[in-house]
């Protein structure tokens, strides 16, 4: 922020642009993350709306519960909610000035995300072996679907959960890199914004999963 202020002072314009973000006075990065998330939410929103449209226009859509099952996914949902809690705890400890506790909770959060992606890999492998593919339903999966073999069911399932899984994977890498930032900056206040911004991303990924879990598994 000080660099931005000195830059603004060195320019000779009569009207100097504000060095502070008008919506998020504490950091420009936070505004940037919110705008990125709004764009990303349009992506997920469009995918889910398209899913609803394809399902409503198909007379052969299987009941997702029959094919996918919800036991593992319910546990994964709970895990992601827990990782959101460790994320807020990390920020809370950093606010109190305890860097090592903040780092520990950031690592817990990353671990939660890694386990989530691992469970998803297991789930995908199981479903693909049963016959649910990106281009249709065959074999045992078709029996589970009671013969309802809408091709787009597999397509939309793998694309939407895959797009979300990619976000979780990116989030784990992002979280680990933020652990590095907290380690390098001796002053806890210096990395507070960075941790809050990674938190925004992580909670967003959790929020999207709440929607995906409801619309693709439960409904």
């Amino acid at each position: 922020m000080s660099a931005a202020t000195s830059h603004a002072a060195s320019t000779s314009h009569a009207v100097v642009e504000p060095a502070e973000s008008p919506l998020t006075p504490e950091s420009w990065g936070k505004l940037g993350m919110w705008i990125f998330l709004a764009g990303d939410a349009v992506g997920f929103g469009t995918l889910l709306a398209a899913y609803g449209g394809m399902r409503a226009t198909s007379a052969d859509w299987p009941s997702p519960y029959d094919v996918l099952g919800i036991n593992l996914t319910a546990a994964m949902t709970f895990l992601l909610i827990c990782s959101s809690v460790t994320m807020v705890k990390a920020l809370e400890w950093l606010g109190k000035g305890d860097r090592s506790k903040a780092k520990m909770f950031l690592l817990f959060t990353a671990l939660g995300g890694a386990i989530f992606v691992g469970c998803q890999a297991f789930e995908w492998t199981k479903l693909i072996r049963e016959g649910l593919h990106i281009n249709g339903i065959t074999g045992h999966a078709l029996e589970l679907a009671k013969g309802h073999g809408a091709t787009l069911f597999g397509t939309s399932f793998f694309i939407i959960t895959g797009f979300h899984g990619l976000h979780v994977t990116a989030g784990v890498i992002y979280l680990l890199s933020v652990v590095g930032v907290v380690s390098r900056r001796p002053d806890p206040a210096a990395s507070y914004n960075v941790v809050e911004i990674v938190g925004l991303y992580w909670h967003f990924v959790d929020l999207v999963w709440i929607m995906v879990f409801t619309f693709m598994y439960l409904l």
């Binding site: 919506l23 998020t24 504490e26 505004l31 919110w34 705008i35 998330l37 709004a38 764009g39 939410a41 349009v42 929103g45 469009t46 889910l48 709306a49 398209a50 609803g52 449209g53 409503a56 226009t57 198909s58 007379a59 052969d60 519960y65 919800i70 319910a74 949902t77 709970f78 909610i81 827990c82 959101s84 809690v85 994320m87 807020v88 705890k89 809370e92 950093l94 606010g95 109190k96 000035g97 809408a150 806890p188 206040a189 507070y192 809050e196 938190g199 925004l200 909670h203 967003f204 959790d206 929020l207 709440i210 929607m211 879990f213 409801t214 619309f215 439960l218 409904l219």
Partner: protein, 112 residues
């Protein structure tokens, strides 16, 4: 500076999220025990999901404590997605070309 930040009761939010998740799974299994239409289940599930998403956004993402314009930016995608549903819906309910209806038509020319 860091000490000035207000923190909501995160554990309380976590308990609510956990309770609502259990509620969602409960609603899925309820039709086995009491008479409940698919629409009712759907409405309950959507309501639970929206409340959960709102809790995460408002408290975990601190949207409740941000400026109103930022909240508007955050809500815009939801508005767009909702509008998109209404754009797609007519195709599902008012146009007679569900995949099942197409099948006999596709078979008919083959008999010639």
């Amino acid at each position: 500076m860091a000490g000035e930040h207000k923190h909501p009761n995160y554990m309380l939010i976590f308990y609510w999220l956990a309770i609502l998740t259990v509620g969602e799974i409960g609603v899925v299994f309820l039709p086995h025990y009491i008479a409940m239409s698919k629409v009712t289940v759907g409405v309950f599930l959507c309501a639970f999901a929206i409340v959960k998403a709102a809790l995460v956004a408002m408290y975990f993402m601190h949207l409740k404590f941000e400026t109103r314009t930022l909240a508007l930016i955050a809500v815009t995608p939801l508005t767009i997605a909702t509008l998109l549903v209404f754009v797609i819906l007519p195709d599902a309910f008012f146009v007679d070309h569900k995949t099942a209806n197409l099948e006999p038509a596709a078979e008919a020319p083959a008999k010639h």
